[in-house]
């Protein structure tokens, strides 16, 4: 008898299914995973340490780059923590704008997740479909903030500026025909809200397309049903949150349980899985996209009817408008102080958590009264979920590892920080 030993295999960090820079050291018994040891930190940028050296507002941009699939949600937790310590509350319109963009961000994130999860498992078309819709959502980001991904749009005390009245249009070019141009600009004739509303009308049809391709697909089900089953007890022990927890059958959503902003004023449902496998988590996330679409529609409706300020008029925290700054000495001083020194936050500590597309994203902020955070701790959902990969992967085949990484919905900006 030849001696049979377990052997160790290296997965990543350049593997296309590793979703970034994951290095997995797998101990294999034949084709069965005995132990998975994720080596992370290849994208560690010490965001928390960098934030300690900067005034509060200068770190908003770093938040975008944490989970670079759901930029605005990261900013949201950060500004919420600051607002809690300052004891300020943004105007209602700003809260609706934040909720709307949080849900647009959730769509962006889930589309990216679905695209990559599907292509990892072998479905090419879904990938192309999802990126088609992401383009429209990025256009919304661009219209409101000027940047397609790293927006820095949320500010302590509100949002940077109001929604634009005009949606930017595509220009004629030699590369597209007049007919194409007309089609591309069809939804862009009105304001940003018109564009978003048009999108929300189209979007349920798109989700149906993805579901046609996947939900009853034999190969998709063979690859996901019964893979990576997590019981509710284990999910709680492993501190799962978000769709990972709901996939295991626990009804828990911070938007319902600990509502922030205006989530208690909008109507939506929480999908919950039954078996806690990859397929249930897929169903949960797809249904979440439909619910997000519903929330966005309600926000568009409210925002149409209720104009008003989008940022707090407290110039100790938010800068005065530019016209005022040019004419008023007091405003000029405020502007100067805010942009050279920033604002100081009273001594104390706060933990602000939001229902991020991936789970609970929290910011723990310790302030000693200075214009910079004393300690900023980011609680990333993906870091916690990846920590459970070893347990989820044991006894599965090597090929299932790819499905597991997909279902965890990890992004390395978030895991490594």
């Amino acid at each position: 008898m030849p001696e049979i030993r377990n052997f160790t295999m290296n997965f990543g960090p350049q593997h296309p299914a590793a979703h970034g820079v994951l290095r997995l050291v797998l101990e294999m018994d034949g084709e069965v995973i005995v132990r998975a040891d994720p080596h992370i930190g290849l994208l560690h940028r010490a965001t928390e340490k960098l934030a300690e050296s900067k005034p509060y507002n200068q770190s908003i941009g770093y938040m975008d780059r944490l989970d670079y699939m759901s930029m605005m949600c990261n900013e949201h937790a950060y500004v919420l923590a600051i607002e809690r310590l300052l004891g300020v509350e943004p105007p209602l319109r700003a809260q609706y704008i934040r909720v709307m963009f949080d849900e647009i961000t959730r769509l962006l994130n889930h589309l990216m997740w679905l695209a990559t999860h599907a292509i990892d498992v072998g479905a090419m078309t879904v990938f192309l479909y999802c990126f088609r819709e992401r383009e429209d959502l990025f256009d919304c980001y661009e219209a409101v903030s000027g940047a397609r991904m790293h927006t820095s749009y949320y500010r302590p005390g509100g949002v940077y500026r109001d929604l634009p009245d005009r949606m930017p249009q595509h220009h004629p070019s030699q590369w597209r025909s007049a007919r194409d141009l007309k089609r591309m600009n069809r939804a862009r004739q009105g304001s940003l809200l018109d564009f978003i509303e048009d999108f929300t009308e189209r979007f349920p049809g798109y989700i149906d397309e993805y579901e046609t391709l996947l939900t009853d697909n034999r190969i998709w089900k063979q690859r996901t049903v019964g893979i990576g089953v997590v019981s509710p007890e284990r999910a709680r022990q492993l501190a799962f949150t978000g769709p990972m927890l709901r996939g295991s059958g626990i009804e828990w959503d911070l938007r319902k349980k600990q509502p922030y902003e205006v989530y208690d004023r909008v109507d939506f449902d929480i999908p919950v899985g039954v078996n806690g496998d990859c397929y249930d988590r897929y169903l949960v996330r797809v249904e979440e996209m439909r619910q997000s679409n519903r929330i966005v529609r309600q926000c568009v409706d409210w925002l149409r009817r209720n104009p008003g300020p989008v940022v707090l008029q407290d110039h100790k925290v938010t800068p005065p408008p530019r016209e005022e700054m040019k004419a008023d000495m007091e405003a000029l001083i405020h502007h100067f102080k805010l942009f050279t020194e920033g604002f100081c936050i009273p001594e104390g500590e706060a933990y602000a958590a939001i229902e991020h597309p991936k789970g609970e994203f929290g910011i723990y902020l310790v302030s000693d009264g200075a214009n910079k955070p004393y300690r900023l701790k980011i609680r990333p959902p993906a870091f916690v979920h990846l920590g459970a990969l070893d347990e989820m992967g044991r006894g599965h085949m090597l090929a299932d590892c790819v499905a597991l990484i997909g279902t965890l919905d990890i992004v390395f900006g978030d895991v490594d920080r």
Binding site: S53, R84, R236, E341, P346, Y364, A370, N371, Y374, L386
Partner: protein, 242 residues
């Protein structure tokens, strides 16, 4: 939430009588401080007992309180040297120390109870500054595994009883604990490719640390609620005799 955070804090204090050093409520959040020797008992009680029911360890992080309350620029009075004082560095640094009389390193645990929809913050200080040790709570909440590795990696806090306390975020062969307040922001080594030796080499950092915006602590009267009340009382007492 049926129970307010204040009554919950009251109940917690009664239940854990003698185990807690402090129990405070601020910004709608309850914080308890636990001596490291009692940490495991307290955590087990918080996890196991149905009326507490903290079934998830949401977050665990290290905190280094070495420079708490220190500013680089005095803000209370006018100065003649201005900005440069903050930038010039440690020699010119002014201390406005309000650091609490506590050990340097602490671990902060954020707990969440799904059945009661409640959060709790637990803080435990590691007594020894040179060799901070805390008991591992991995046996209570399995999610502590990576969190404790992270706190060990970044702050050098040793979690006793952790089965696999390795570095997690920093590079293979990294020296030091980067999130400590005495670790420079720019790090200690830099890497480059050396064409002569034909490999990547590590060298001491060449860049100078610099401060763009000095750290300043301002006492804004708007947030000092007590003082505002006092002043109001003073004014009232001054006007009433008339």
């Amino acid at each position: 939430m049926a129970e307010t955070i204040e009554t919950f804090a009251q109940r917690l204090q009664e239940r854990l009588e003698g185990f807690l050093e402090t129990c405070t409520v601020a910004h709608g959040e309850c914080t308890i401080e636990v001596p490291p020797a009692r940490l495991l008992e307290v955590c087990t009680a918080l996890h196991e007992e149905a009326e507490l029911g903290f079934d998830e360890l949401i977050d665990l992080c290290g905190v280094d309180y070495a420079k708490y309350g220190e500013a680089e620029w005095v803000a209370g009075e006018a100065t003649d040297r201005g900005f440069s004082r903050g930038v010039r560095g440690p020699g010119e640094r002014l201390h406005e120390t309000s650091r609490p009389e506590t050990p340097r390193f602490a671990a902060v645990y954020h707990l969440l109870s799904l059945p009661h929809n409640r959060r709790l913050r637990v803080r435990a200080y590691a007594a020894d500054e040179d060799f901070p040790v805390l008991p591992s709570v991995m046996g209570v909440w399995n999610s502590a595994n990576w969190f404790e590795r992270e706190a060990f990696d970044l702050f050098g806090i040793i979690f006793e009883g952790h089965p696999d306390l390795r570095r997690i975020l920093t590079d293979y062969g990294f020296v030091g604990h980067p999130f400590r307040k005495d670790f420079p922001l720019g790090g200690t080594v830099e890497v480059r490719y050396d064409p002569e030796r034909g490999r990547v080499v590590y060298e001491p950092v060449s860049m100078q640390p610099r401060v763009l915006v000095p750290r300043v602590i301002r006492h804004d009267h708007r947030y000092e609620v007590d003082r505002v009340d006092e002043r109001k009382e003073d004014r009232e007492s001054a006007t009433t005799p008339r």
